[in-house]
Symmetry: D2
C-alpha cells in the first residue's frame, strides 16, 4: 500500500486515460469540485463522455444550477451525456410517509442515502464496466487508503466486474483549487459561502475557518461513518486493488 501512495504514482491524467481508453462502458460520477476537474481533464482526452449525478431531491438549488452550468460549459468541447439519477418513488414515498423528511437526524443517514443515492447508483452502474470518482485520500479518515484504481467490491455483480478509478486519490485540496483557478473550471457557488464538501442540503453545512472539510457533512454522527454508501467499501474493508491494466 505504502508504495502505491508514493509520489511515483501515475498522474491523474494517466489514470483518467487508463479508464477512458481501456473501457468502453465507463462513466464519470459528478457531484463536487473534484469531479469537474476530472471532466475538464477528460475534455482534452476524449470526444464523448458519459457523466452522471445523483439528483437526490434534496440538493441545494445552487448545486442544481452548478450541475447545469457544467453541462453547458463543456457542451462545446465535448459530447457530454449528463444523466441525473432520481430515486425510485415507491421506496421513497414509503420512507417519507412513515418517518417524514428528516428521519436521518434521528436514526442516521444510511436509510435515506440508500434510497436517494445508493439504489439509483447501483441501477445505473449495471450498464458500465468502470466508473470514475473524485475521491481524495485527504478528504476524510475513511478515505486515507483510497487507491487510484480498484475493483469495486460494493457494486460489482456476479455477472460483471466493475472497476473504480480515483484519479485524484493523491491530490490535496489545494491541488484541486489550484486547477480550478488556473483553468477557469466552473464551481458550485456555495464554495463562496464557506461550504467545502457539499452533499444534500439538510446534511451539509458551511465550515468555520480551519475546520476540516468533512466537518460540514452529517455533523451529528460519528466522524468515522461519514460515507453516504456510494463509497461504503471505504468503511468496510481493505480496498481490493487491481493492478492489471483492465479492459
Amino acid at each position: 500500500m505504502s508504495e502505491q501512495i508514493s509520489s511515483s504514482e501515475p498522474s491523474p491524467v494517466a489514470v483518467l486515460k487508463d479508464a477512458l481508453h481501456n473501457f468502453e462502458k465507463v462513466a464519470l460520477s459528478f457531484s463536487g469540485a473534484e469531479d469537474v476537474v476530472l471532466i475538464d481533464m477528460a475534455s482534452h482526452l476524449v470526444e464523448k463522455l458519459s457523466v452522471f449525478s445523483l439528483d437526490t431531491g434534496r440538493l441545494h438549488p445552487e448545486t442544481l444550477r452548478f450541475i447545469d452550468r457544467v453541462r453547458q460549459h463543456y457542451a462545446t468541447s465535448l459530447e457530454l451525456t449528463l444523466d441525473l439519477l432520481v430515486p425510485e418513488p415507491v421506496a421513497l414515498e414509503k420512507l417519507v410517509r412513515e418517518k417524514g423528511l428528516f428521519s436521518f437526524y434521528e436514526d442516521g443517514h444510511e436509510e435515506c442515502c440508500h434510497i436517494r443515492k445508493v439504489a439509483p447508483l447501483r441501477r445505473h452502474l449495471t450498464g458500465f464496466d468502470a466508473w470514475i470518482t473524485g475521491q481524495r485520500r485527504d478528504q476524510s479518515p475513511s478515505r486515507t487508503q483510497v487507491p487510484q484504481r480498484q475493483i469495486d467490491a460494493g457494486f460489482s455483480t456476479a455477472r460483471r466486474q466493475l472497476v473504480k478509478f480515483n484519479p485524484l486519490a493523491a491530490w490535496k485540496s489545494a491541488d484541486v483549487w489550484d486547477y480550478i483557478r488556473d483553468n477557469d473550471v466552473p464551481y458550485n457557488e456555495l464554495h463562496d459561502r464557506g461550504f467545502i464538501s457539499i452533499g444534500c442540503e439538510p446534511c451539509t453545512r458551511a465550515v468555520r475557518p480551519n475546520e476540516h472539510e468533512r466537518a460540514g457533512r452529517w455533523w451529528w454522527e460519528e466522524s468515522t461513518h461519514l460515507e453516504c454508501g456510494i463509497h461504503l467499501m471505504n468503511l468496510d474493508q481493505e480496498p481490493d486493488q487491481t493492478n492489471d491494466s483492465g479492459g
Copy 2:
C-alpha cells in the same frame, strides 16, 4: 355563477364538512399557506386526514422544512397521513438528459410541471373520490371563477368521477393571513422574505411591495397561463359545477 360567488355562499368550514363527511376517500392537497388553514380547520372536524403534497424535487429547502413542521404540528391532534408524491424516474431522467434542468425558461413550464406535478397527482388521485384544494378566486386571473365545489373534469376518469372542493374560494388573501395569525398556524418561512405564492424554487420569486402575489410565479411567461396543470381546467373551460350533495 354570480349568485354562487355571493356572500350567501357556505362558509369554508361548511364546504370542508361537506367534503370530509360525505366522501370516504377524500384527500387534501397541500403546498401553500391556504392549505394549512384547511388542515387546521379539518383538525377540529375529523380524527383522520389524508393529505398529500407534490415533492417535485425542485422545492425550496425551506418549503420541505415547512412541510415537515406541519406534519409534526398536527400529529398530536389528528391522525395525519402525509404523502409526498415524487416524479416517475424514467420520464424525468429523459427530460433532464435531453434538455437539462432549466428547460422551462426556454420552452415553458408545462413539460416540467407535467412530469413533476401533474403525473404524480393523477396517479395519486385515482385512489380518491374527492379532493380539497386551497384555491382562491383573488389569487390570479385564471381563478376568478373558481367555485367552492366542482366536478374535476381534468382528473375524473371513465370509471370514477372526482369531485374537487375549494373551501376558500371566496376568501381574500387577508382572510388567510388573519386566520394564520389568530390560530398560530405554521407557515413557510419564505413568507418572511417577501414570497407570497410559493411553488418550485427556480419558478418562484419574492414580489415587491404592491405586486400581485402571482407575479412571483413563472414571471417570464404570459400572466394568463400561470397554472401548473394541477388546476388546468381553470384555463381551459367553464368549471363544471355540481350542486348535488355528493357521496
Copy 3:
C-alpha cells in the same frame, strides 16, 4: 382638515414646484422609495437639487448601495448634491459605552434615534428655509393627518421659520410603486426581499403577506409611537398648516 385631504388637493408635482420654486434654501430628505420618486419628479423641474440622507451608522449595506446608486442615476440629469449626515461622536460614543449597541430593544428607540437621526437633521436644517419629505398619510396611524405643506414646529427656530412639504401626502403605497415601475426609478434591493418601510438594520424587518408596512419598524414597541423623531410633530400635536405661498 378634511377639505385639504380631498381629491382637490394639488398634485405632488404642484406641491414640489411650490417648494422648489418659492424657496431658495430647500432640501429634500431621502431615505426610502417615496423620496426617489420625489427626486425623479424634481429632476424634471430644476437643474440643481440639494438632497440629504441620514447615515446613522446602522443602515443596511444594501441601503448604502441604494443611496449611492441614486446619486449616480441622477448625476447626468441633475446637479445633485447628496449630503450624508453622520452622528456627532461624543454623544454617540457615550451612549454606546454606557448601554452597548442595542439599548433600543430595552428602553426604546428614542435615545438612539435622537443621536443618530434627529440631532444631525437639526444641525443640517439650520441651513434651510424649507424641506421636502416623502411622508404619506396611509403609512401609519401617526401620519393620517399629514398635510401637503406645514410649518415645521419641531425644527423651526426663533430666528428662522422652517416650512415642511409632503408632496406625496395623499398618495397610496400603490401610487408610489406604480410610479417606480413606470419610470424605472431605482429602489432599495431589500424591497425584493419582503421589506416595505426600511430604516436602520436592527430596527427594521421584512413583513409577512398582508402585514402593514410599518409592522416592520420598531415592532417591539407600541404601534402609536412608531416615529423616529424626524416627524415627531406627527405624534405630539395638530400639525400647523401654512397656506401662504412661502418664501
Copy 4:
C-alpha cells in the same frame, strides 16, 4: 529578528501579562477573532480591561452584533470598558459629498480607511501608553515580521512613546480557532459563512476553499498593500523593537 520569531519566544499569555501589568494606560484593540482570544486570556489576568473597536459606519450588521455579544459575554467576569470609536463628521461628510460612498473601489482604500479608522484610532491612542493587537505573522505578506512587542512608530508622539504588543504574533490561524473552540469564545457569525478575515462590509468578502484569508480583503488592490493604516508601519519600515520591560 530571527531569534525573536523562534519557538523560544514568550507565550501569548506572558506577552499579555507584560502589557497589562507593566502599563497603567493600556488598551486592547478589538475587531476580529484573534482579539476575543486576547480578551478571554486577559479575563483571567486582570479585573479591569479597556477595549476599543473602530465602528467605521460600514461594518456588517453581524459584526456589530458580535461586538455586543462579546461585551455581554465578558461582563460577568471582567469590568470591561468597550469603546466604539466613530469617525469625525466634518471630514467624513466632505469625502462622501465629493466622492460618494464607494470611492475606495476607484482610488484605493487609504482615504476612507484614514477617516473611518486611522484618525479615530489616533485620537483614542493619545490617552494610552501601550496597546495590544491580535496581529499574526501568517496573516499576510505584510505581517511576516511582526514582533511580539514594538515601539509604535506610527502612533507615538513627541510627547509620549506608545508601545504596541502583538501577543499572538507567532500563532497560526489554527491555534486561534483551537482556542476559540476549546474555550467557547464568541466569534463573528460571518465565520460560518466563509469569511475569515473580516473588516468593513464593502471591503470584505468570503474566501473560497484554500484561498488565503487576506484574499477576502481589498481584493481589487495589490496584495502587498492590504493594510488599513492601523498597522501601516508593517508596510513602511522595519519594525522598531523594544526589549526593555516597559512601564
